[in-house]
């Protein structure tokens, strides 16, 4: 335990300041233990079913689900934007629910089924939402896109499951699709390129509605 504390202190000394804490957060999780010959945190086993495939990992407890996917399973479709729950680039679907994988430890998901952008469709057989994003130009640089698509797929499911929203007039009525609804429900996915209106069209297309 004291070794660990020492490590934390020396690391903090090197990476002082708030800009540095962003760097620390962005450093690949795998690299961390290597810098601590004497004080590596013992790893813990984690079992995940990722895109239908059973995976077993041994991880430093600090590893987020996002870093487990990107750095350990090399599924780099899921993106790291802010690493603080503020952008949605890291959105994945866990046990049928969309979450920000950057604000979850991999250990919290032991035994869970995770779907990433790689699991929704393949280049030869796109998921309808992926195809609609292509058709409607739902992106420019594409960095936010995997998160947008995972979120969009989950939003249509949430409406189907009657999860209400902030813009819903009557709370006791059934949730339904509309342009206002999808804009509210997609507000956790920021697009720096401003592809929002085309994303809305792609979603409306898949929902069988007009944006």
């Amino acid at each position: 335990m004291s070794d660990t504390a020492e490590f934390a202190l020396s690391r903090r000394g090197v990476l002082a300041g708030s800009a540095a804490s962003a760097v620390a957060a962005a450093a690949p999780a795998e690299a961390m233990p290597q810098r601590t010959p004497s004080g590596a945190t013992p790893t813990m086993p984690v079992r995940l079913t990722v895109n239908g495939e059973k995976r077993e990992l041994a991880l430093d407890p600090r590893t987020t689900l996002l870093d487990a996917l990107r750095e350990h399973l090399h599924l780099t479709g899921t993106k790291k934007g802010c690493d603080h729950g503020q952008c949605g680039a890291c959105t994945v679907i866990v046990e049928g629910r969309r979450i920000n994988s950057c604000l979850s430890l991999a250990l919290q998901h032991d035994g869970d089924a995770v779907t990433t952008i790689e699991g929704l469709g393949t280049p030869d057989k796109l998921h309808p939402m992926q195809a609609a994003f292509v058709k409607h130009d739902g992106y420019q640089c594409g960095y936010c896109t995997p998160g947008q698509i995972c979120s969009a797929v989950a939003v249509l499911d949430e409406i189907k499951r009657d999860v209400p929203s902030h813009v819903q007039g009557d709370l006791t009525a059934k949730a339904r699709f509309s342009n206002m609804e999808l804009r509210e429900r997609m507000s956790g996915n920021i697009c720096r390129c401003g592809a929002y209106s085309n994303i809305a069209e792609a979603m409306a297309d898949v929902a069988g509605e007009r944006a």
Binding site: A5, S18, S21, P61, L103, S104, H166, Q168, E184
Partner: protein
């Protein structure tokens, strides 16, 4: 992030014991606030006790017609529950006005109550902050304070409790149920749960070390029309500058609490009694003795206008009279 050890608890009292016995240990629910703060090393727990397997994920009827909400019920599930939508609309509305769909899927009922302030200086570890480091000073006092508190604040901290859900729970007179390491249970009215900062802004609530929240109980429904009016810098995915949770009855009486203005959901019962006289009468009383800064003085008229908007929607007698 500092390193820590991790365990998943399977028993509530054992979980409370695991945290109580170990200085530096913390409960972990959804992780959406705690991990955020751990990445910035504002929170530096040495041990995490994950409480997701304790079975506190149900919403059940109570004997006297209310609801018992398990501490681990997600914000999404709570807002979507048909009983909550029908009988406690203010609570669904408040939750749905907060965070994003992704975050609400993960955020728990207990974690939401315990989310820490969003004061920008609390988040910036280069700045003095009594809440982060007792005795350090407060960079917000005399600094940029647009988002911060206007009432109930102290000379050591002017931050707000930032959440939405708790403001609705305050209007509903919710009760927080806990268990401690000795198996002792406690029921804390939400009015006594969040603290005014005073000289100890490092302590947000009246919970004791290792005390585990097991549930939040809502008394039987109040009837009336339910509102949650949240004013913020963008239409979604932003914290409140000011929010109003209200339940308004047909005769114009009702209950009202304000968010984004104080260290706790701000409800003044004597002010509520003035609801039939209109918004200005209520806020004049509710914010009596307010100490806004020049950056956040706008919150006072904004609170009046947000409440006026609610009363206009309610179409209460006072409004109809003009």
């Amino acid at each position: 992030m500092r390193s820590f050890t991790y365990e998943r608890a399977t028993d509530a009292v054992a979980a409370a014991r695991a945290v109580a016995q170990r200085p530096g240990a913390k409960f972990l629910a959804g992780g959406t606030n705690l991990l955020d703060l751990m990445k910035l090393e504002i929170e530096t727990p040495t041990h995490l006790v994950d409480v997701q397997d304790l079975g506190f994920d149900k919403i059940e009827k109570t004997g006297d017609g209310g609801l018992r909400i398990g501490a681990l019920v997600t914000n999404t599930d709570l807002a979507a529950d048909t009983r909550v939508r029908r009988d406690y609309g203010v609570l669904s509305r408040a939750i749905l006005a907060g965070a994003s769909g992704q975050l609400r899927n993960k955020a728990s009922t207990a974690g939401n109550l315990l989310q820490r302030t969003r004061c920008p200086y609390f988040y910036d570890t280069n700045m003095a902050c009594n809440k982060r480091k007792p005795g350090d000073g407060c960079a917000a006092i005399g600094g940029y304070s647009r988002q911060l508190g206007v009432i109930g604040v102290s000379s050591s901290c002017i931050a707000t409790f930032p959440g939405d859900m708790a403001v609705a729970m305050r209007v509903l007179d919710a009760v927080i149920e806990t268990v401690d390491a000795g198996g002792q249970r406690r029921s804390i009215p939400i009015a006594d749960f969040h603290r005014l900062w005073g000289d100890h802004p490092e302590q947000d609530t009246s919970l004791r070390a290792g005390e585990l929240i097991t549930a939040v109980v809502l008394p039987k429904p109040l009837g009336g029309q339910h509102f949650y009016e949240k004013v913020r810098d963008r239409a979604s995915y932003a914290y409140a500058l000011v929010s109003v949770a209200a339940v308004i009855q047909r005769d114009g009486s009702g209950r009202v609490a304000f968010g984004g203005v104080a260290p706790k959901p701000w409800r003044v019962e004597e002010a509520e009694a003035l609801l039939p006289q209109g918004a200005e009468a209520v806020t004049a009383r509710a914010f009596h003795g307010a100490t806004p800064t020049k950056d956040n003085a706008f919150k006072l008229p904004l609170a009046t206008r947000a409440l006026a908007a609610v009363l206009a929607q309610a179409g209460t007698p006072a409004q109809k009279k003009g």
